[in-house]
Symmetry: C2
Subunit: 333 residues, 2 copies
């Protein structure tokens, strides 16, 4: 294992020191491993809390700031944050309008966020709603998941729900927007290589030199099948077809098309794949209204990519376009 | 070689189709492989043209847009663009105030930009000035370079000179700001792995499992030495010390501190390295005024990072902070 780390046991704490140093507009609670927007709690605004295992950066800490998350709880690499962290974040960002938990559908995350919501409500009376993302069409049930896994739609949801909260909408309405995003989003990924969890010290799985895994999970969970490496346009079809087969993306509304890098794949390859994806969507009569290309929900240094499509009506597009100021997504301010 | 490509011979053209599809606010000349800001030429504004070998994305096409470059010329992977491309870009972005060429110091790039400047001036009378970046303190002369190599400072320079041009300053003044950035910037990088040029199909060089190369070039050119892998804080010192030894960064002015990822290193490691770099700079009495962490001048999927420090007075900081709207750097708009 060759990684820029000091000690596998301190990776998350050490990286959070870097986040704090690079982003003075954020506030980092190093003891609890929580990244806050600097002005949290914002009075009268619904607070948005997300979090999950580390190793998916910039998700979630890179999405903290005005127009997106109020707090992100960092677990150990590929490990859920604990309830105490989530309780601390929830009570800290409550500006009197309640708090929305945004949770990727992994068993540990779901349980710990549920437990934290109960504790926070009991201890401080804060109103908590939750949305669980489960957009990965690859497989039903998985190593750490009952049902579908939550992946790329989480990024789009955090942006869009964040904009709704910033507008001053109430908790029920922000939660409804968030659920609408999850319900209208689908994803599918593929891996060219494994990644190595620092504490494990060796690759999570093995792929042959000419082999890829289609439907990979963001922790290296098995996908649908392994197949020989192929040209990008064939691989693009392996992402586009299952997504389109699962939900109708044609028709009046456009889509937000998000081609995500898994961490180790360079941008030139992501743009190349995006061209192939767009050609397939054009041929299928899917209108792309907005595009996002880059590594936003990663799996350490895994090589590969994932596609997320979100059927987005005018309201969701307006919320997507609204100003945002975070380390990883920023526009309008 | 396992890469998301169709054919090694068409990588650059295929990726530019993706850039065009993802960024409708830009204009792509596919024949000449030039990416333009959509409203070029901007009347009365100095035009900024850069370019170089592909494989360093987002540099340079990802920095095209208001507040930064007017055009980027894409060469083949790790190969200079040809004079015809640069002539086309130069004449297309001339809004009557002249054009600044921003050139990284590699022999092919320097020659081809010089030739293009002469042709453009002779054919259309456009006034061209040029700035050559040579900020890499690792080595004097290299595989493709006489003198020092141009690396990370190019990113900061394109942003700062772009802001100066956007303010309506004249060609001489924009060129002077650009040279001031280069003169006050220094960089040093290290690699944990090689990268593979698609057309070559095999890694450019070999490193043992426990070995890194300190002072690596962005095309895999040899650095200062190879050494055993070590904890991040030791490696941070290998970047900080040679940079501080080359130029005094203490004193009244602050620095812009840019920790760059080489392409294959995940963000969690970059933030971890940034924390170590910041601790060393604090100890050395260097005041960090602004920070940038992420993969902005990459070497395909190479794992590793580089540090760039820029001694920045108030004017350079104001130009850095000015609005910018490009695929890879965006704020204020």
């Amino acid at each position: 294992m060759k990684k820029l780390v000091n000690d596998p046991a301190t990776v998350v704490a050490d990286a959070l020191r870097g986040v704090a140093a690079a982003h003075p507009e954020l506030r980092v609670d190093h003891g609890n491993r929580i990244v806050y927007r600097g002005d949290a709690p914002v009075a009268g605004k619904v607070g948005l809390v997300s979090g999950g295992g580390s190793g998916h950066e910039p998700l979630h800490a890179g999405f903290v700031g005005p127009g997106m998350l109020d707090a992100a709880c960092a677990g150990e690499v590929f490990t859920s944050p604990v309830p105490d962290q989530i309780v601390a974040a929830t009570t800290a960002v409550d500006g009197g309008a309640g708090v929305l938990h945004i949770v990727k559908n992994y068993t540990g995350d779901v349980l710990n966020f549920e437990m934290a919501a109960e504790i926070a409500a009991a201890e401080t009376g804060v109103q908590v709603a939750a949305v669980v993302t489960d957009d990965d069409v690859a497989v039903q049930d998985s190593l750490y998941t009952a049902g579908r896994r939550g992946v790329g739609v989480t990024v789009l949801l955090e942006k869009i729900a964040g904009a709704a909260a910033e507008q001053g909408r109430g908790l029920d309405e922000v939660a409804e927007v968030a659920r609408r995003v999850n319900g209208n989003g689908r994803s599918m990924g593929l891996a060219l290589t494994s990644c190595t969890v620092p504490a494990a010290g060796r690759p999570t799985f093995q792929l042959a030199d000419d082999e890829i895994e289609v439907g990979i999970g963001i922790h290296g969970e098995p996908g649908r099948h392994r197949r020989p490496m192929a040209p990008a346009r064939e691989l693009a079809a392996q992402l586009v077809e299952p997504v389109l087969a699962d939900l109708d993306f044609t028709g009046g509304d456009g889509v937000i098309c998000f081609l995500n890098g898994m961490g180790g794949t360079p941008l030139i390859e992501l743009y190349l794949m995006f061209a192939e994806v767009r050609a397939l969507l054009d041929a299928a009569g899917v209108r792309v209204a907005r595009s996002l290309v880059g590594p936003y929900i990663t799996s350490l240094e895994m090589a590969g990519c994932s596609l997320t499509l979100l059927r987005a009506d005018d309201e969701l597009i307006r919320l997507w376009d609204a100003p945002v100021r975070t380390p990883a997504l920023r526009w309008g301010v």
